[in-house]
Symmetry: C2
Subunit: 337 residues, 2 copies
C-alpha cells in the first residue's frame, strides 16, 4: 500500500502534524489530485480550536488546493485528464438550487479529508482547469475566498458596473478578492480596516482608498469623501453594522458572509425601508458561482493576494499567523509533491 | 369660480373638516377626476397627529381614490377619456429606476392635495382604468395598500408559486391584500395577529390559518404546524423580528414595509448567513409595480377587504377607527358627487 503525508489534526487545541496515511483511492465518480499547494482559511483555525460544529479529530484539514490530476474514477464525467493542472471547488454537494445549498452540502476539509495532503480525492464535478495565469500559490489562495466573494457581490448583491462599493475588513481573504472582483466588474471600490498598514497596502498597491473603522468619524468621512455606497460587502457585523446601513444609497444592498465583530445592534426599520435597502446573507457558493468566479478571474487575469507561502514543515507558523490575524492576504502551504 | 367640498386639515391634532375650495384646474399633463370614494391609510392618521415630516396645514388629505375623469390637460398622454371610471396611483414622480424612487417622489395627499375632495388633479400617468369587478368602495381600498403589498411580495421578495408565506398583522390594509395576492400567486399562506377575532375572520372567510403573536409559543407552534416559511411579509418589526428570522427556510426572504412595533432586537449574523436569507425593505411601488398589481387584481378578480364605508359627514368616526386600530380591512369614505 502506497502512503502519503497529510497534515492531521489529532486533537482540538493543537496544530495539525504531518502523518503517514494511505493514498486514498478515487470512487467511481471521483478524481484524485496530486496537491501542489493548499491555503488556509479561518475555518481551519476554528476547527483546530474545536469551535466548529461536529468536529471530531482526527481530520486532515484544508479546503483550498491546486494540483495535477493523477487518477480519475471509472464513471467520472469530467473534462479534465490525468496530468492536467486543476483547482478544487471546496463546496461539495451543493445541490440543484442556486438560491441555497442542499442539506447534504459540506465544505472540503471536514468531515471529508482536506487539501493539506499529498493526494486528495474529490467528486469530479468539483474539479476545474486552473486559470493559466496563476502561480500555484495564487491558485491555492483562490477557491474558498473567491467563491464566497463572488456569490456575495455578484449573485446576491447584484453588483453593476459603475456602482460604488465599500468592502469592510481589507486584508482578509474574502474582502481582498472582493476588492479585485468589484474593480474588475467596473465598480468604484472603497474599503475599511482597523489596521493602518492594511489601508496603506491597498492604497499603494491598488489605489483603493479606505477608512479606519476605529476612528469615531469614519462613517462621516466616508460620506463626505466617497458619498453613499450602492453595495457593501461585509464580514464583520458587530456594533458598526448600523453605521454601514446608514452609508447605503437608495436601492443599496449589503451582502454579509460573516460577523467577526458579533451581533448587529438594534436597528430601526424606518431607517431602511424608504431607501429600499436589502440586507442579504451569503455563504460559500453554488457550482454556477464557482464557474462564474473562475471566468471572472481568467478574463481579468486577477491574481489573489498571497501573504506568504510556507513550506510544509512550517505549518505551525502558518497557523500562528491565522491566530494573530497578522496576515494580509492568504496563507499558503507548499506541498512537496 | 366653481367650488367643491374638500376635507381640510386646518391644524395638527385635529380632524379634517369639509370646507369649500375652488375646483382645481388640471395642468397640461394632468387629469382631473370627480371622486366617488376615497380610503384612509395610517399615513393620514400620522399626518393629523403632526407626526409626518414636513407637514404644515392646511392640507387636503387622502392618498386613495376612485372616480370618473372630468377633464384632461391639453398635453396629457393618456389612454383614458372623459367619463371613464379610473383609479389613482398614489405614488407621484417615482422616476425611471424600478429599484428605488426618485428624490422628487411624493405620495398623493401631502404636500399635493389628496383624494378627500370632490375633485382631484393628478399627473396623467397616475391614472388607470379601474378594474371592472370592483365596487367604488373596493376600488378606493386598493391603491396604496395594493401597490405596497405587491412590490414587497412580488418585486422585492420574488414570491413564487408553491412557496409558503407568513403575513404578519392580519387585518391591516397591506397585510390583508398581501394575503389575497399571495394566494392568487399560488402560495400557501399563513398569518399572525395580536387579536383573536382577526385570526378568526381570516380563517372563516379565506381559510387562512394564523397564530396569535401574544402567545409565548407562537413561533414554535408555527414551526410545528406550518413548517418554515419561504417568504415573510412584515409591517411590524419590533422585538419579535428575530423570531420571524428563525422561521425562514433556507433561501428565505423577509420583506418589510413598516415597523409598528419599533426597533429590531440585536441579531447574530451567524444565524442568517448559512441559510442565505434576505431581509429586504420595501416602500410604496413603481409605476410598473402599480400596473402589475392591477393586472393581478383583474386576472384573479381580487376584492380588497373593506371594513366600513363611512358617509362623508362621518369623517370623524372614520379617523377614530384608525386611531384605535379597531378596523379589519380598509376604512372608506363615500364622496357624494
Amino acid at each position: 500500500m502506497t502512503t502519503m503525508q497529510a497534515a492531521r489534526l489529532e486533537a482540538v487545541k493543537s496544530i495539525p502534524t504531518w502523518t503517514s496515511l494511505p493514498v486514498p483511492a478515487p470512487g467511481p465518480n471521483d478524481v484524485r489530485i496530486k496537491v501542489k499547494a493548499a491555503a488556509l482559511n479561518r475555518r481551519d483555525f476554528w476547527i483546530t480550536q474545536g469551535q466548529y460544529p461536529g468536529v471530531e479529530p482526527p481530520h486532515t484539514l484544508g479546503s483550498d488546493g491546486v494540483g495535477t490530476v493523477d487518477s480519475i474514477g471509472t464513471e467520472a464525467v469530467t473534462s479534465v485528464s490525468v496530468g492536467d493542472r486543476v483547482i478544487v471547488n471546496p463546496g461539495l454537494f451543493w445541490g440543484n438550487n442556486d438560491a441555497f445549498q442542499d442539506a447534504h452540502f459540506e465544505i472540503l476539509g471536514v468531515p471529508r479529508d482536506g487539501t493539506l495532503a499529498e493526494h486528495i480525492v474529490v467528486p469530479s464535478e468539483n474539479v476545474a482547469a486552473c486559470p493559466k495565469h496563476l502561480t500555484d500559490s495564487e491558485a491555492a489562495a483562490l477557491p474558498l475566498a473567491g467563491v464566497t466573494a463572488y456569490r456575495a457581490l455578484v449573485t446576491r448583491a447584484n453588483l453593476q458596473p459603475g456602482e460604488r462599493v465599500l468592502i469592510t475588513g481589507l486584508g482578509g481573504g474574502v474582502s481582498s478578492l472582493g476588492v479585485l472582483f468589484a474593480r474588475a466588474l467596473g465598480a468604484e471600490v472603497w474599503g475599511t480596516s482597523g489596521q493602518g498598514h492594511k489601508l496603506e497596502f491597498f492604497r499603494e498597491t491598488y489605489d483603493i482608498h479606505g477608512f479606519n473603522y476605529h476612528s469615531d468619524t469614519w462613517t462621516k468621512d466616508a460620506k463626505s469623501k466617497a458619498g453613499g455606497f450602492d453595495v457593501i460587502l461585509d464580514g464583520t457585523g458587530g456594533a458598526g453594522f448600523n453605521g454601514l446601513l446608514k452609508l447605503l444609497n437608495p436601492g443599496g444592498r449589503i451582502a454579509f458572509y460573516g460577523g467577526t465583530q458579533g451581533t448587529w445592534p438594534e436597528i430601526l426599520p424606518q431607517h431602511l425601508f424608504y431607501r429600499q435597502l436589502s440586507i442579504v446573507a451569503s455563504t460559500m457558493g453554488s457550482p454556477r458561482d464557482f464557474e462564474g468566479m473562475l471566468n471572472l478571474v481568467t478574463t481579468h487575469t486577477i491574481r489573489p493576494i498571497v501573504w506568504k507561502t510556507f513550506e510544509a514543515s512550517d505549518l505551525g507558523q502558518a497557523f500562528d499567523a491565522l491566530a494573530t490575524h497578522s496576515q494580509l492576504g492568504k496563507v499558503v502551504i507548499n506541498i512537496p509533491n
